[in-house]
């Protein structure tokens, strides 16, 4: 197990800044997830850590020793960092066993053979050894790519969108299995994904990136509940958004009064974010009156679009099914005020400049 630390890392490609001022710390044995929209620089950060690309500035340290910095650049083959590629990058001319053995050139031949067998065994794919990559399905190739990255026992494992080439149910199954393997190997891991659900589910901590910078780092649960910026709030899940003004510590919204929270002064403009799951829905009783306009059955939950006085957009509500409401029905809405997220209006403006560097609590 090794710790990884990145300070002030920057990268330009063709004169354009791809990454700037990146600081990142990953604790030994931790699974860290880099998440962000495509093009935010997360894959580039991974490639810089692996040593496939050279940074323009900044430092990368592994257990305190410098991998990249001013006048220092350790070639990727010297780093002891494993990288699993999005397209798996299995060598098409080598069998699965030979693919694994490729990274074990420093071991004696018998030792390498034993390691290949052992690793394949641990992942439950020993029978793949004599096959060629093209003879395997996508899920099987993914497993081989993981085995190949793990076989040299790297000190840090990097995974670039490891599940994006799989679809649907297979993806979920492979994801759970991969994570349990990572826990078993107890290896420091950085995983890149564009899927916020995958990020909060897979990682010990999540780092949100945007436009070549890190926006915030924290535990998935904290980022979802206290995202720190409107951009992050929208990124990690759908929101109903309302504008309002703070009056006596509270904000009036079409869904009723909610607490403005600390640090908001009297008369200040705010934006209120309410997650679709933070709203209680019933056919009658207490709460704000509304009328069902849309109804989507989504399996485990049901989603409603509800017309409410004072809101130009339909209010989105998700409730565990079954819910006995149909379009045209009248209903009552009750907001769980403890789970409401309030931003000062200026956060929006700051956010559009991707500043300031908000860090959620619990990091």
């Amino acid at each position: 197990m090794a710790s990884l630390s990145v300070r002030g890392l920057a990268k330009d490609i063709a004169g354009r800044s791809i990454l700037a001022g990146i600081d990142l710390d990953v604790a030994p044995g931790e699974i860290m997830c880099l998440v962000g929209e495509s093009g935010c620089g997360k894959s580039t950060l991974l490639r810089l850590i692996a040593g496939i690309e050279r940074p323009a500035a900044g430092e990368i340290r592994l257990d305190g020793s410098l991998l990249a910095g001013p006048h220092v650049f350790v070639e990727p083959e010297q780093r002891g960092i494993g990288l699993m590629f999005q397209d798996y990058a299995l060598f098409p001319h080598l069998t699965v066993g030979e693919n694994l053995a490729f990274g074990l050139a420093r071991l004696a031949r018998s030792e390498a053979r034993a390691r290949v067998g052992e690793t394949l065994e641990q992942l439950g794919i020993a029978h793949f050894a004599p096959r060629y990559p093209h003879m395997l399905s996508g899920g099987e190739q993914q497993r081989v790519a993981l085995a190949r990255a793990l076989a040299p026992r790297p000190r840090v494992l990097l995974m670039d969108e490891p599940f994006s080439n799989l679809d649907g149910r297979l993806r979920d199954a492979v994801r759970f299995e991969t994570l349990s393997i990572l826990r078993r190997f107890d290896i420091t891991t950085i995983l890149v994904t564009h899927d916020p659900e995958e990020a909060v589910m897979a990682a010990d901590r999540v780092t949100l990136m945007r436009a070549g910078r890190i926006m915030l780092t924290g535990r998935g649960r904290d980022l979802y509940a206290r995202p720190g910026s409107p951009y992050a709030a929208r990124f990690f899940g759908d929101c109903n958004e309302f504008a309002g003004v703070c009056r006596a510590g509270r904000v009036a919204t079409p869904l009723g009064l909610v607490p403005a929270g600390a640090g908001v002064t009297e008369g200040e403009e705010v934006r209120v974010f309410v997650r679709p799951g933070s709203i209680g829905l019933s056919g009658a009783g207490a709460g704000i009156a509304g009328r069902v306009v849309e109804h989507w059955f989504r399996g485990e939950v049901e989603q409603f679009g509800i017309e409410v006085d004072g809101s130009a957009k339909l209010v989105v509500v998700r409730a565990p099914g079954p819910v006995d409401l149909a379009p045209g029905d009248h209903c009552r809405l009750a907001v769980d005020v403890a789970r409401v997220i309030v931003f000062k209006a200026c956060d929006n403006i700051c956010d559009s400049r991707t500043e300031p560097w908000l860090t959620a609590a619990g990091a």
Binding site: M1, R47, A50, G51, I52, L62, D63, S65, L66, L67, H71, V72, F73, V74, E75, P76, E77, Q78, R79, G80, I81, G82, L83, F85, Q86, D87, A89, L90, F91, P92, H93, F102, G103, A105, R106, L107, R115, E118, Q122, R148, A149, P152, R153, P154, R155, R184, F185, D186
Partner: protein, 566 residues
């Protein structure tokens, strides 16, 4: 898994990982140095020429300007203009016919039109001198047909003329235009042709007003290649008595032993070469732009009526007949007659062995250097790698004679230094080691066909996703191990086809071989040249047939590509 045995292996490298002295740019530096060395070697002949020409005795220059250059330059210009336009016409016309119309024999002609590429220009000239000789088969038959008795009463115009040379070169070189233009016609949007028809243009007008203008970049590339080959040609123009610049270079060196004069003419020749290189590059840039802007829906060929179909068949067959069938059939027939009369001579076998061995050496040399240039572009991209890539094209762009003069001078100086060192240090007389051993010739092959090697290695490498490099590197392989364990096995097919192309080109090579071969060393090409120059027809037809047969290999590959490509 906790920190147990296997993990400790990984940790053992820790000091290595953290040590800045071990880190850094060494692998990339190695590739850069190698690429720089190749770049220098590739540029050396041209630089030598410049030095040599500037250094040459000024006394000869006025003579050249007064007596040699004007005629040679005029001849060359005329030849280029004639061959360029005729080959462009034949190439575009046949490409449009087989792409846009359906007629009997179209499927066969589509690939048969490439066949003349298998006939080197000097072999075509050699064959036609005999076929069209006043007492040769064609003229005899014509006289018999027309009822004349002797060659004095009736004869065709002499092929040994500018017109003859232009016709001959055009009919064997047009496939360069055919190939590039047909590829363009095939990828052109059929919708554009349809659109022009709805706007009132006839099918024929759609060709001249839409298809042809769109294909201009491809035509420019094809014609540039044709003209480079024309400049390179030495056999055909000499056999047909046309004193071109290329022939003058050879004559100035061989007849006058005036290397500086030859270098001066060679420098003059570099001017049109530079123009052609620029035209070719421009064409390629435009072509990729034009092709990428269009949807590749194929043009549906239009059926032709019976008469029109027969006419199309006749028109499109003519270049194949003139450029391939007639000379190949003549060579086969006369080779057969020679073997029946004298068997295979010992000398011819030795010549064949010579050809194969120096061609193999040249192929290996070119592939090795090409590998360095192409791989440096991948493992250590930057200014040096791209400079090396550009300079590796130099040998292919300049005529073989020009390259040979540059090599001759450089290697000659080296030889004299070696000889001097041997005689002063060891008191031994070693002669001219590098030229005498054929090393100079192999070096010329290497540099001349380096472009093909670089191109095929680059092509092979480009199909290997860069993530494989990253995977190999993160698993502890350096660039060298990545090269031989990952790239070479995956690029093998591309390397093999590159090797075939280079080998065949080495076997056909005449101008540089003539200048650089050791005394009494014959390849198939020089043997044919010698016999044709002396007018003694012995084993030449067999040598020519061998060259043509071997040359069919890459042509077959090209034909297959054209069939299932697109």
């Amino acid at each position: 898994m906790r920190l147990d045995g296997p993990v400790a292996v990984g940790l053992g490298d820790l000091d290595e990982v953290g040590d800045p002295t071990r880190s850094g740019i060494r692998p990339a530096l190695g590739w850069r140095v190698a690429a720089a060395a190749v770049a220098l070697l590739a540029a050396a002949p041209i630089l030598t020429l410049v030095v040599l020409a500037l250094d040459g005795s000024v006394g000869l220059w006025p003579h050249l300007v007064a007596h040699v250059l004007p005629r040679a330059a005029a001849n060359t210009a005329l030849l280029l203009a004639g061959v360029g336009s005729l080959a462009a016409g034949i190439g575009c016309g046949t490409a449009w016919l087989v792409t846009a119309y359906r007629f009997p024999g179209r499927g066969v002609l589509a690939w048969a039109l490439i066949l003349p590429l298998a006939i080197p220009t000097y072999i075509a000239a050699y064959a036609y001198l005999d076929v069209l000789h006043p007492v040769g088969p064609v003229q005899s038959w014509l006289r018999w047909l027309l009822g004349y008795q002797s060659a004095r009463e009736f004869r065709l115009p002499d092929i040994r003329s500018m017109t003859g040379c232009i016709l001959l070169l055009s009919f064997v070189l047009y496939p360069y235009v055919y190939l590039t233009t047909r590829a363009m016609f095939l990828t052109q949007a059929a919708t554009l042709i349809d659109a022009s028809r709805t706007l009132g243009a006839s099918y024929g007008a759609a060709f001249t007003r839409v298809a042809l203008p769109l294909a201009r970049p491809a035509i420019a590339v094809g014609v540039s290649l044709v003209l480079m080959e024309t400049l390179n040609d030495i056999g055909a123009s000499e056999f047909l008595g046309i004193q071109t610049l290329t022939v003058s270079i050879y004559a100035t060196w061989v007849n006058r032993s005036d290397l500086a004069g030859a270098a001066q003419i060679a420098l003059v020749l570099l001017v049109p070469v530079a123009g052609l290189v620029a035209a070719e590059r421009f064409g390629r840039r435009q072509r990729s732009f034009a092709a990428s802007a269009q949807r590749p829906r194929r043009l549906e060929p239009r059926p032709l009526g019976r008469t029109a179909g027969m006419l199309a068949l006749a028109l499109a067959s003519l270049p194949v007949l003139v450029g391939f069938v007639v000379p190949a059939a003549y060579l086969a027939w006369s080779a057969w007659a020679r073997i029946a009369f004298a068997g295979l001579s010992q000398g011819l076998l030795a010549t064949t062995w010579n050809t194969v061995s120096v061609s193999a050496a040249g192929t290996l040399g070119a592939l090795a250097l090409g590998l360095i240039v192409a791989y440096a572009g991948r493992a250590a991209p930057g200014r040096i790698a791209s400079l090396a890539a550009r300079l590796s094209l130099a040998g292919y762009a300049v005529p073989g004679t020009v390259l040979a003069i540059g090599v001759l001078y450089g290697v000659g100086a080296l030889d004299r230094a070696v000889a001097w060192a041997a005689s002063t240090l060891a008191g031994a007389s070693v002669g001219l080691v590098l030229i005498g051993s054929g090393a100079a010739m192999v070096l010329a092959y290497t540099l001349r066909f380096l472009a093909i090697a670089t191109g095929s290695v680059e092509g092979g490498l480009s199909r290997i996703p860069p993530s494989l490099d990253g995977a190999a590197r993160t698993m502890g392989a350096g660039t060298l191990r990545t090269l031989y364990a990952v790239h070479l096995p995956l690029a093998k097919p591309a390397l093999a086809s590159g090797a075939i192309l280079i080998f065949v080109d080495c076997m056909k090579e005449l101008p540089a071989t003539l200048l650089l071969r050791p005394l009494n060393f014959e390849t198939l090409a020089t043997r044919l040249y010698g016999e044709a120059a002396r007018g003694t027809y012995e084993d030449a037809s067999i040598a020519a047939l061998l060259i043509v047969l071997v040359s069919l290999l890459p042509v077959a590959v090209l034909a297959r590509l054209g069939q299932d490509g697109r």
